[in-house]
């Protein structure tokens, strides 16, 4: 690990004042310390934001406001989240391990880096880590890569479970800027496609801090999270789906379906939600949804299996959610 200076401010304002080019915020540290050990990331200053009082979960206009340093454990166990946003509790509980969830935070989870093995290996070319060097994953080991939203420069996927559920719940990210001003952005617009700049992952400007994630009042009571992985626990998703549905008079009145393990960002496709909305649930409809979802998929030999796997999982999730 490269040497760095450590600071632990006690107010958000002093944290924002301390951040400068070359510095990084640290929350739980479960991703950043890992990457610093490998020297994939080498900040010269590390600013600890764990004691800024951003760890509250509050009622917010019929929804909830989740502070950026609320741990994944506390969020999953929160009574209101379990009752109104079970898809979020389920997604969190399907991620990482008990120990990691106790440290991992809401903001850190949203900003965790891809698990592309080449990104972690400084001996291989990687456009995300070192822009312009190429992409070792294309033509290399591809099992854990994306099939939707990829570019010829990067095929890395976003590994979060939590963010998939938050996509289905229409989460909004609350951001504090260096001047102390607050702006809000829909999670939908928070992540960027890799295109020809895979190093730019989100709309966060240098020096900006995630203060909270907000969830509006739940729009559906039928919430399901399913995750398929190589072992029963403590593994990233091959494919995961978070669905928030509502039914009225035998028809789907609200559909929000988000996907993990297949997209360069936590994925949601308006065309899938639109296709389902207003319809009577049926196997045919669910199969059609799977076709629409994959219309622009660009799988490789290594990720081809994800197309069918996702479509089967989607059928199972929608069946469960509409029963």
């Amino acid at each position: 690990m490269r040497p760095f200076e450590y600071q632990r401010p006690t107010t958000t304002d002093s944290a924002l004042a301390a951040i400068a080019p070359g510095a990084a915020f640290i929350a739980g540290g479960t991703n950043l310390i890992d990457l610093m050990k490998l020297e994939v990331m080498a900040p010269d200053t590390v600013i600890d934001i764990s004691r800024l009082g951003m760890d509250g979960i509050e009622e917010d206009d019929g929804g909830v406001r989740i502070g950026a340093t609320v741990t994944n454990s506390d969020l999953a166990a929160d009574r209101r989240v379990r009752r109104d946003y079970p898809v979020l509790s389920r997604a969190l509980l399907a991620g990482a391990s008990g120990q990691l969830r106790n440290k991992a935070t809401t903001g850190g989870n949203l900003l965790q880096k891809t698990r592309c093995p080449y990104f972690y290996d400084t001996d291989t070319p990687c456009n995300k880590r070192e822009p312009g060097t190429g992409c070792a994953a294309i033509g290399g080991e591809q099992r854990n890569h994306a099939i939707l939203g990829t570019s010829e420069h990067c095929v890395a996927l976003h590994p979060s479970d939590m963010a998939v559920a938050m996509r289905a719940l229409d989460a909004v990210v609350e951001i504090r800027g260096a001047g102390g001003e607050t702006r809000e952005i829909d999670l939908e617009k928070f992540y960027l496609l890799p295109e020809d700049r895979p190093q730019d992952e989100t709309v966060l400007e240098p020096g900006e801090l995630i203060a909270a994630a907000r969830l509006p009042a739940p729009k559906g009571t039928r919430q399901v999270y399913r995750k398929v992985r190589d072992r029963a626990s403590y593994a990233f998703a091959l494919v995961s789906i978070g669905a928030v549905l509502e039914m009225e008079a035998g028809r789907i009145s609200h559909a929000a379906v988000a996907f993990g393990g297949i997209g360069v960002k936590p994925w949601r496709d308006g065309a899938v939600d639109d296709l389902l909305t207003g319809e009577e649930p049926s196997e045919g409809l669910f199969e059609q949804a799977g076709e629409v979802l994959m219309r622009d998929a660009r799988p490789s030999d290594g990720t081809e299996f994800k197309v069918g796997l996702t479509q089967r999982l989607l059928k199972a999730v929608l069946t469960e959610a509409t029963q």
């Binding site: 540290g29 590390v46 166990a77 079970p86 509790s89 509980l93 990482a96 008990g98 106790n102 626990s233």
Partner: protein
């Protein structure tokens, strides 16, 4: 940097480079070598300690982030909990080489607390409980602790026994 940790009930002053992980501070600086280093990347659980009442991977935390925190390691666990769990590990053949055992013990102790506080798990049918200490629940809740010797049946039985005894 100067920091103070309360380790197993005793205040310990340390002067550390910020790069030192909590695990290395315990093992190399305080010579508490009970906590083990398996992977050093959060993937095995051998380094599990209890910080502020919660189990964490000491390898993925900087010691300086814990200034003022209370840390319990395997060395202080018996005093803190009475040793029921350790005895259950012996009775149920919960180890072979023993390398993962300190992490298993710290993790299981805090996991049983989480259960008492009513935390759900991935395999809980109802997110609002009640949760039984079934084989499946123990496996899921302990999945962050790997055992190279694959003593999982014994580990699971020991934790179930100790959990029921409380």
């Amino acid at each position: 940097m100067k920091i103070e940790l309360t380790v197993n009930g005793t205040a310990r002053a340390l002067d550390l480079d910020p790069r030192v992980t909590l695990l290395d501070a315990l093992r190399e600086h305080l010579k508490l070598t009970g906590s083990k280093k398996g992977c050093d990347h959060g993937q095995c659980g051998a380094c599990t300690v209890i910080a502020g009442g919660r189990r964490i991977n000491a390898c993925l935390s900087l010691a300086v982030m814990h200034d003022g925190d209370e840390i319990t390691t395997v060395e202080g666990l018996a005093e803190a909990t009475g040793g029921t769990l350790q005895q259950a590990f012996v009775r149920n053949d919960g180890m072979q080489c023993g390398y993962c055992t300190p992490g298993q013990l710290c993790s299981a102790t805090a996991m049983l607390d989480e259960l008492r506080e009513g935390w759900p798990s991935h395999v809980s049918d109802d997110l609002n409980g009640p949760y039984e200490l079934t084989h499946e629940e123990v496996s899921e809740r302990m999945s962050g602790n790997l055992c190279r010797c694959s003593c999982y049946p014994g580990i699971n039985a020991a934790i179930t026994e100790a959990g029921a005894a409380k």
